[in-house]
Symmetry: C2
Subunit: 388 residues, 2 copies
């Protein structure tokens, strides 16, 4: 069994791209990933592609073959949809195909256009990641769902809006040097607290923006990388996925994300690592509270201690285990279907030493990607290690 290597990885700039189609965005990311990998397009065996709301944003389903064509490939191409974890799910199946020996070279990626439909329609489209019958029709949007989770967390463990604000401040600071980030703007705790309220206790700066963008990476078997002398030191050594009931009302607690914890346990066991081995992580901070829940799921902090870690700055680039060196969804942006692979791109670059925040973890061997769909009814986790 061969752990896949990351041979080339790229994202478009994240933000508003009103004049670009989805295929145009994905072509940019995919062709750049291929170019960086040194792999000839003819060697690519398949495309594993994540997209969430293409039916609504572009009146376009069946995007697998469309995106393969956009990068000049005629290969098996499947679209994975697990809400905001769509391209995390795509990576998982790509890893299996390479480990199986079925495929040697695959393209993974994702794309989302969101800003073209406007904020109200995008918010409605995002809501279809929740339970339409029991949540959405009752008026629940995603800010509301995560607000319920934050309130529940505060009730159970304590914590304040100010504590959460530190997550936003940190991620904005991390993104300052990320040329592809949507929000490159330093913010203060006071500004977070003074921002318009979206869903109490979450304000505007507690939420990630609405984003257009694409991500792509070329994965190869270790044998292929060696045979072709590729510069591909980063391996995906662990994969995990778990699920939970879709509606919050069907969960035992709103203050934890057991699907993420399950995915973490599987991925760590698969890679043979534990939380102590993790040098840094990219986690799914669609809202500030989501990052707190994520670092607890990763086993970096006990339940209820993630909020303290945030307040005390333990997860900044100066801390022991920096979280979201890219700026996270919060500041880098969150083109939903592209996010899982965008996390992969960041982690590969940090481990290779080519990311602008790589100096935060100069001796890093192990990075982890935590990608969650909806209120973490879906979660995928991947472990990356330097194998050069």
């Amino acid at each position: 069994m061969s752990d896949p290597r990351v041979a080339g990885a790229n994202v478009t700039s994240f933000g508003e791209h009103p004049e670009r189609t989805g295929r145009d965005l994905f072509a940019e990311a995919g062709l750049a990933a291929l170019d960086r990998s040194g792999v000839p397009a003819g060697d690519v065996d398949a495309l594993y592609y994540g997209n969430f709301m293409g039916e609504i944003a572009e009146h376009q389903g069946h995007q697998g073959p469309l995106m393969a064509e956009a990068v000049g490939l005629t290969v098996p191409a499947t679209r994975y949809e697990a809400a905001c974890a769509s391209s995390g799910a795509a990576v998982r199946d790509a890893v299996r195909a390479i480990r199986n020996g079925e495929q040697e070279v695959v393209l993974v990626g994702g794309m989302e256009r969101m800003t073209n439909v406007g904020t109200a329609a995008a918010t409605d489209a995002l809501a279809i990641a929740a339970d339409d019958l029991y949540e959405v029709r009752a008026g629940m949007t995603f800010p509301a769902a995560y607000a319920l989770m934050a309130r529940s967390y505060f009730d159970e463990y304590g914590g304040t809006r100010e504590d959460l604000a530190h997550v936003a401040v940190k991620n904005h600071e991390h993104a300052l040097v990320n040329d592809n980030a949507q929000l490159r703007k330093e913010i203060t705790v006071e500004e977070v607290l003074d921002a318009p309220m979206v869903a109490e206790p979450l304000g505007l700066y507690d939420a990630c923006p609405i984003t257009d963008g694409a991500s792509a990476a070329v994965l190869t078997s270790a044998e292929y990388a060696e045979r072709h002398d590729l510069d591909a030191p980063v391996a995906i050594t662990g994969t995990g996925q778990d699920g939970d009931n879709l509606a919050l009302q069907d969960r035992q607690s709103y203050a934890a994300t057991p699907a993420a914890a399950g995915a973490v346990a599987e991925a760590y066991a698969d890679a043979g690592v534990d939380a102590d081995d993790v040098d840094f992580a990219e986690v799914h901070d669609c809202f500030t509270i989501a990052e707190v829940l994520a670092i607890e799921s990763l086993g970096l902090y006990e339940p209820g201690e993630g909020i303290t870690a945030a307040r005390e700055g333990e997860t900044t680039r100066h801390g022991e285990t920096p979280i979201n060196l890219s700026g996270g969804l919060k500041a880098k942006g969150h083109p939903v279907g592209a996010t899982g692979v965008a996390q992969l791109v960041t982690i590969a670059k940090v481990l290779e030493g080519t990311h602008p925040r790589a100096e935060a973890v100069p001796a890093a061997d192990v990075g982890v990607a935590h990608n969650a769909g909806g209120t973490a009814a879906s979660a995928t986790v991947h472990v990356f290690e330097v194998k050069a």
Copy 2:
């Protein structure tokens, strides 16, 4: 490497279900499949689920965890979308997970609600399986796309509307004893030819209906089936997938489906069979011409000879290699996301001898499922063999 066994398989009745939600339909299929399998729900490791147009039909994305919950499972659950080949793609990844040894028991399935939005909206929703920018905006619908393919086939090889009518007549006749089929009505060649024209040369009876329904099957490793003494004689011994450019204009020919041929070649090689070994097949006859192209892709007939086989009745239940004993999409119905697994259900039942048309192939060892998305820009093929 263990070839997965089909331990239990079921479909809902296909047709109009105006008062049932998608989760209700999938619960029926999934729970019945579990019940027939004898596998306890707690042993299920994951759900692989196909759905095409849930965002439009039910304002519901992220259906993986929702459908898992509908059958009482809290497991990793991913939605696969490859247009009409969505649950074929789901089966493919399920097969990999079992062969890997990663998972021992999985549920595969699919669901589609279509009739609730009305025929015009359903036709528009189906169109998003084509290229919105270059096909749909120019007015192309799927009947039009397959009409182009039929005309091209007639131009290249000859053939008439009357030849195609035999496909519809045969599939309606096959469906007469299928209690789950949407159209249980014998038709004649004359009726097909006299039916209203949809897109020249395809008339109303050349097209499959718009359908609500769900399908599900429990797959286990051979070792699990043996250990638990399951009655599961049917194995999935081959899997294949290939892709093509999404838009017809980007193809070299409209009179062939190379993605299907590629998927067939991969699946046959994987199973170690060839076309001569195939005793019967369920193929993707969304339109009559699609069945002709499918049996050529399967290598059962040379290019241009599929139409002759149809005319001469070679693919009826009395022929050497019966095609679509279920009635096919044409008469059984085509709830898009459910179709790939519905083909699996039919094939497993025929091989087990429990299908009402099983007497057509009493000594059958090998059945093949051919599932195509769009104008076969996606195709998955699976080979099933009796291993008892």
